[in-house]
């Protein structure tokens, strides 16, 4: 049971949603965009989040689009993880999503909600970062398009009034060879200790990581080293680990030393998938 009340709105257009957000805010209220609501409900129940109104984006047609058109896969922010896995346009995304929460909850979590939720892992972002995918954002000044990895950037990311409308993946990335390696602390269904995805085109393998730092990331420095075929795989991995772009998590799930140890094993597994390891 949620111990406080709020208003519920389900707009039919992007403009309606954004205008509503701004007018509620101007009236001194705190609105939030509402996707699957799994995070909002579970946090509200224990008073970890408070809002005066929720704006359910699932009634907006653009947020429910899920199609390959003109060389791009377009996924609306309100599309559920289950639908993405079932239609399976992007097998690496489907595989990653099938390891988020459990099958029933996947039917409620939306792609936009996973990308924007306060939980640090945001595993669905990994295949999208590895494929240089973009996000269409709507706000008071209309729409703009940024790389998925930039939504976590203070400057380029979303301001509080903005919402994610769609995610766009170029179709040349959809069927590339891939690797997905996820480790949890104990149970198969859990937040990750670490998740790695890799996507290989004719030039190189792109990697994205979750569970190492406080945010999911892709690192050009780590990628350069991992793709350097002139040195041994073990040396590549050791050098890549010294190039992690932020502070390594050190918590009850795993110490930073343990995470580094696991990352070594997992990177080897990923490279093995790409037949980079004899």
């Amino acid at each position: 049971m949620i111990p406080f009340n709020f208003e519920y709105y389900k707009p039919k257009t992007i403009e309606e949603a954004v205008d509503l957000f701004n007018s509620l805010k101007s009236a001194g209220k705190k609105p939030v965009y509402y996707g699957g609501g799994t995070e909002i409900i579970s946090m509200a129940r224990v008073h970890n989040v408070h809002m005066d109104a929720v704006i359910d984006i699932k009634g907006i047609p653009e947020c429910n689009v899920h199609e390959v058109k003109d060389g791009e896969l377009i996924i609306g922010s309100g599309v559920t993880l289950t639908e993405i896995a079932e239609l399976n346009f992007f097998p690496l995304l489907s595989l990653t999503i099938k390891r988020i929460a459990d099958h029933t909850v996947q039917g409620k979590i939306t792609l936009g909600g996973n990308l924007m939720g306060p939980i640090i892992y945001k595993e669905a972002s990994l295949p999208l970062m590895a494929s240089n995918s973009k996000v269409i954002i709507a706000g008071r000044n209309g729409k703009r398009k940024v790389l998925v990895r930039d939504i976590y950037d203070k400057e380029k990311g979303l301001n509080p009034c903005e919402m994610i409308v769609q995610i766009v993946v170029e179709d040349k990335f959809l069927n590339l060879p891939y690797a997905h390696v996820k480790r949890t602390k104990n149970e198969k269904i859990d937040y990750p200790l670490i998740t790695i995805v890799g996507l290989k085109d004719e030039k190189k393998i792109s990697f994205a990581f979750s569970g190492i730092c406080e945010y999911p990331f892709r690192s050009p420095k780590m990628e350069d080293v991992l793709n350097n075929n002139s040195i041994s795989v073990n040396k590549r991995i050791k050098k890549a680990i010294t190039n992690i772009p932020g502070k390594i998590l050190n918590d009850l799930n795993g110490s930073s030393e343990y995470r580094k140890f696991m990352l070594h094993t997992m990177l080897k597994e990923a490279l093995l998938d790409f037949q980079e390891v004899e």
Partner: protein, 158 residues
């Protein structure tokens, strides 16, 4: 645009019939079912999306009723354990010792019923994927797996 700013009477489609109920926008479906409609088959466990004891079907798909607002179900078909009458999975749970204390049972029955409808030829992988959404603290899960397998392969006696 749908706007529900305060407690409002909704006409919800539950177990094949329309039921009028006064709900607040912040009421979860689990709360509405149990506390306002007297449908206590969906059980509160973790209320956090982890245990599956509260599972119901919305438009034939399993949903954890602790993680959905009642207002989100406007225009959808809700099926709770009270609406599941003499379907094969119920008999199969009895025949395969699929429960002990019974607290998790309604949630498991809803997931299994939906799986049998959507994937009547589900393989072991799909069965595991769907059933991992629910926890049971009494059985060893094998009995539940046997129950679902026996209806998927059509061996349940009627």
């Amino acid at each position: 645009m749908i706007k529900i700013a305060k407690a409002t009477v909704l006409n919800l489609h539950i177990n094949g019939e329309y039921r009028e109920v006064l709900v607040k926008p912040s009421d979860t479906l689990l709360y509405t079912l149990r506390n306002l409609l007297g449908l206590t088959g969906a059980k509160p466990g973790c209320e956090n999306g982890d245990c599956g004891a509260c599972t119901v079907l919305i438009d034939n798909r399993p949903i954890k009723s602790c993680l959905i607002l009642t207002v989100e179900t406007i225009g959808k078909r809700i099926l709770t354990i009270e609406g599941l009458k003499d379907v094969p999975i119920q008999k199969s749970f009895v025949e395969n010792w699929g429960f002990q204390c019974g607290y998790c049972t309604s949630g498991f029955l809803m997931v299994c019923h939906s799986l049998a409808q959507i994937h009547p030829n589900a393989n072991d992988h799909t069965i595991e994927e769907w059933l991992q959404s629910n926890l049971c603290r009494c059985t060893g899960y094998e009995e539940i797996e046997n129950a679902i397998k026996s209806i998927l392969t059509g061996t349940v006696r009627t």
